[in-house]
Amino acid sequence: MKKTKIILIFALMLMLIFTACAQQTPVEEPDVEEPSSEEPVEEPEEIEKLSIAIVSPSSINDFAFTQSIYDAMLALQEEYGEDTIEFVYSENMFIVDDAAAAIRDYAASGYDLVIAHGSQYGSSLQEIAPDFPEVSFAWGTTVDTFGQDNIFAYEAASDEGGYVNGVMAAMLTESKVIGVVGPVETGDAKLYVDGFVEGVKATDPEIEVLVTYINNFSDVALAAETAETQIAAGADVMTGTAQMVVGAIGKIQENGGYWFGTQADQANFAPDTVVASQVYHWEVILKEIIELRSQGILGGRSFVANLANGGEVMAFNPEIEIPDDVKAAADQTIAEIKAGGVSESPEIEPLDIAIVSPSSINDFAFTQSIYDAMLALQDEYGEDTINFVYSENMFIVDDAAAAIRDYAASGYNMVIAHGSQYGSSLQEIAPDFPEVSFAWGTTVDTFGQDNIYAYEAASHEGGYVNGVMAAMLTESKVIGVVGPVETGDAKLYVDGFVAGVKATDPDIEVLVTYINNFSDVALAAETAETQIAAGADVMTGTAQMVVGAIGKIQENGGYWFGTQADQADFAPDTVVASQVYHWEVILKEMIGLRSEGTLGGQSFVANLANGGQVMAFNPNIDIPEEVMEAAQATIQGIIDGTITIELP
């Protein structure tokens, strides 16, 4: 009786847990506002007749992103007539799940074209589109169609208009200070701002551009306050993007300055202030889509709205007397951009990259190096092209494996397993996802699999250079080294360092202590104290806990040599040089190979010769000339192979 009772209770519990979970799931399912009930939908009778639904993250009169597509629809209606083009919308769908439900709902209720007007809707679309092969989907702003033949992709080259605005702004400012108010440093906003800054700098590199991202799309008061701050800092010309900038426009207007707009024509809002606006005319692109559809092509193409195709137009405010030379320069710039003379971003397919790493992205060491590399890549290719996510602190190999598998399964093009401990997991996972590229570091082993890249750093090279310099700088002839666990990258660096010291002066004593721990800052500090007490006046070390050691050698007026990240900012009077990894050099090679259809199977080494490793000398420290010369000669020798590093 007792036993049955217990088993019964146990079974009930399990059931309850699972039903509780099952009941939870619908919470995700949003209460979709039924726009179809508000605006009666008629079954399309003629082939030309088209019903279109828009799903967008903000409000249709946001004066910015969403309004631009809404205006485009109105323009289309004007052109084709309201009888032919019929449209409904779901605005403020900032919850992606809700948007997904809305998209699915529209598709299911017979709309011909569903426009997902938000880059965040991509993965939802990817799931939904295959279920409705008859429906066309349009996804912006991006250029990725997921290879599906019923998805169109569209985006705006908003850097172009930004550039034109920048050129004009540079010519109009008297204070030589220009303010920029942005929302979140990503996507369309970043593209515009970057283009703007580039335009300013190309015109007058002396001008100071104050860029503030307020990390918010709606806080008008904060935008206004940002403008006030920038005006107080001297700005007399400003620009900004996203719906909250209306606050900023008001402030620059009060102060009699100029404003440059984007996304929508903002001249009406402040006729005496807005000089010009970059305006999107999505209808240009939507017309192409509609035409393709009428030919039976439901998707699979991507479009870019730019100055050349009229998807982007510069609207100059007639109320403002723009000086002739400024107007002329603007026209000249527009012409040049149309001819393809100004903008030059390398053309690659957009990539979704995921990083899995064992420590935190700001660990000042190993993980930070790959994170910084991704930022550098984004800088180069643009955030629309390189999209990346990360899972940090995955020190549990098991969890990392789950993360890697999950990323691969959810459509990422490339998954970077940034930890040598992830190897065997990768070996198992990679064969299941032949379309996905994997990169594994730091190692040189691809397991012979043609979708795994391997990468590692020849960290003994930088270690050797550091060692040569350290040997020349020590007066006590004792050098200290603090390491974590005697293996992998740390061991390689330390061995290279010791080799460099010994090659320069074999009489120098190198004290190497491995504390067998990556996080104990106090123990690293104490190790440094011990080595200093034993006579060390120059030190180096690797992994994130060395910050403790740097502090101690700094207190004692000695020198430090860094690795993995540029540590000069941390102790400007102590760090002589740092070996810095530039993984982006290697990642670029992988991306290039991938675009040619090679998904893996090669291994890369970041070294001094290929720029994957760079020696960063600290400008704050007066490095004696002969030391500097020796360092340069060593770097050169390693690059051209005249120096071979003897590792134990």
Partner: protein, 379 residues
Amino acid sequence: MKSRLNAILDALLPLFATLAALLVGAIMLIILDVNPLVAYGALLNGAFGSSNALAETLVKATPLLLVGLGICIAYRGNVINIGGEGQMIVGAIVATWFGLRYTNMPGWLMITLAMMLGALAGAVWGGIPGVLKAYFNVNEILSTVMMNAIAVQLLNFVLTGPMIDPIQSEKASQIPQTARLEEAYRLPRLVPTRLHLGALIAVGLAILVYFLLWRTTLGYRIRSVGQNKFASRYAGIKVERYIIIALMLSGALAGLAGVTQVYGVNFRMITDGSTSGFTGRAGYNGIVAALFGSLHPIITIPASILFGALLVGANTMQRVTQVPSALITALNGLVVVFVVSSEIWRKKRQQKRLTIAIEDQEFDEFSNEIPGHSVEEAS
């Protein structure tokens, strides 16, 4: 009937407490500009959303359950074993060594022997603090904490030296890992997921531990020593022996958890210089799971699954929302605090019920099984 409902409510308490903790977590998510619904949707989806997710949850729950069972025994014997991390490591080292050393054995034989050896190693590693406590009055919290630190250095040593993968020892990178176990030695899996036989073994052991504690003399003595050392000694029980046995059993189960991690999940050992790199904090989280399960071996099964689901789902949540992973750690802590705090409601209702029960001259057997609230203690 009413008491059954009460028991169900009691058993579900950790679930409610977890939900309450997640509610507090929602505030943190909102501050970080993340929609909590999206986040928790991802959490649920990551833990239960597909057969693969469910399998991952169970894989995560397996070492928690094994360690947790050991904790049930130790707590019943009134010893606190926070040495699960070290015991897992040592058990895994010995079992891995054995599996790599002796090749070409039948798989079932190797797996059986490896498990026995791993459990034995864990028992020794747990037995040392047991001996020290029983005969030298060295507190087990101190010794188990220290033994964890010693075990991880042992791990670092064998993986960078004697047991390093021969392929790695030739390379410059020298990844600190052992070679992989041969295919035949791996625990059978429920293809195509990573769910392995270890999960089933753990559940079987849970039932075994239940019988051990309540149906054998050994179990009775462990519990009696745990409840009252002096009375037990007076009754002729060799108290020292049962303290050591409790810790050894606890260590053996943790050692076994280490073995299943190698033979069922990773097929090799690897170190990142800390304990958690190998154990995944299961040595600590197992304690939490056992407490979630009211220190009852059977209830620890769903408790481990719940906690495993939380850990697996939280990782998915991080991936989906891209919140710093630190938030997950903090949230994990909140759940533990909330669940352990919720115990008081159970306790209060229990006392109320007990009063009624005494009036009826009838004891509810189920409540009798829950520690800290047994009739002897409550009266």
